[in-house]
Symmetry: C2
Subunit: 299 residues, 2 copies
Amino acid sequence: MDTALGINLSFCVKRWVTPELWAPLVRDRLGLGLVQFSFDLVDPMWPDEILDDIAGRLRRVPEEHGIEIHSAFIGLAHYTFNQLLHPDPRVRDYAGSWLARAYRFAAKAGIARVGGPLGAVVSRIDGREPESLSAEDYGDLIARMTRLAGEAEKAGLEELYVEPTPLRREWPWTIAQARKMMEDVAGTPVPWRLCPDWGHATFEPLYGRYRASMEDWLRNLAGHIGMVHIQQTDFQYDRHWDFTEAGAVDPEAARDALLRTGLGDRPVFLEVFYPFERDDRSVLDAVAASVTLLKRAFG
Amino acid sequence: MDTALGINLSFCVKRWVTPELWAPLVRDRLGLGLVQFSFDLVDPMWPDEILDDIAGRLRRVPEEHGIEIHSAFIGLAHYTFNQLLHPDPRVRDYAGSWLARAYRFAAKAGIARVGGPLGAVVSRIDGREPESLSAEDYGDLIARMTRLAGEAEKAGLEELYVEPTPLRREWPWTIAQARKMMEDVAGTPVPWRLCPDWGHATFEPLYGRYRASMEDWLRNLAGHIGMVHIQQTDFQYDRHWDFTEAGAVDPEAARDALLRTGLGDRPVFLEVFYPFERDDRSVLDAVAASVTLLKRAFG
């Protein structure tokens, strides 16, 4: 069985932002038929008139190029904020409204799944990072996730996704936390699932030099995992390099880990970010070379 | 004469986001009295009730710590979008509304100057990057900047700033373009000025190995420059490293360049970004060490 390989549109940010631009690139240059949309290309807070227009084009243009949009994920812009864990509950409310609008936009565009990181608590002045969320913040987060699943049902989505990130201030950042969160949101009208990332689970400064392991996440959370993000990285930061860079992720070993943990049928999305100032041609060349390398292992 | 050294709050993004958190850090840990606020800490699209509350605290809390907020600049979140040069004029309108709200928020917070990059045109499918904006896009941009100066006057601001970035798709990216733009917006009710960045003017992949020079920008545009961003960088990307990293920017040489070009009285703001996943304590240590190094040259 081949694992389906797709690409997150993070490489298109501020460059190929319309479906008329990215769909031919994905099909003709990369030879892929599966993408994950990024909310860095469309801000759900834009007026309805603009969103409705783009949603209509997202229903039509990718299909004309033989491309399926599997899901839509939070990008860099929204991730910059504390979202659902901001200290001011009114800002958490705003982050909830942002997500509800994201769900409605995705549904209108024919995209059945939405996900991303949930939020971050603020830092302390002394730089000390507590191991866990306060019970109050965690309870509030679960309540908000439950309400958001209701919004997703109203919009007509099929699945919601949490992307765990390797920060003590975000949540969940351990396997045990992720399992507990999945239990605590079990039974919502639209199910919450997990999207682990190869550069998050392996971040050694947080998890330890010999304990950071993507396969542990895959094995222990297999039943909750609906898709996976892949990137090249050195395990020292969450690099989101492409596979032309020298790193520690081996595509064949990554595929074997998915097969060993029974996740060979879950789609794998390459998520790479480039410096804004890097020139377009070298970005296209590097993405294309990466996809060629990944295709030897996937799809 | 000492050049005033300040710090952009980019190092606080998703960490020390409230004035109650960052003001004591800036004063007691960094020993600075001058900051540039970042719109990564507050999104101007948040509801008025939240913005008014934060603006009130920004008027009060930094002053209690002996800190002046010199200006407020666009951060990573808004920079992620094409802003005033998006292909859809309705998205350009939304970016204009965003800025008008940013101006009103800044004025309410007692901040007299607002700035940042203006926007980016989208990329071509073939990866070729034209040298210049179309006459239509450029004319539209100047018209929008002129109208924005009217919004800034209504809000009560003193100055607006353009931060040139080293991308062909953004504008202005050459000294000649910056000069022409300043001429084309001359006489607006609130004046537009320039904030060059030490890591933008020196980006060798765009400007060439021996032609990238911050001093050329300073000398040729001196009359339009009201402040400067400094960062450590290797001239190969717009790194926004702090000064604990090995790079090509020498603080004493930077100060001398400002003095030689008659800009010794313009404030210099350190603008550094850290990976979200880096731990708080090491970020604080690195920012503090950088500021100590920079103080030997400035202020």
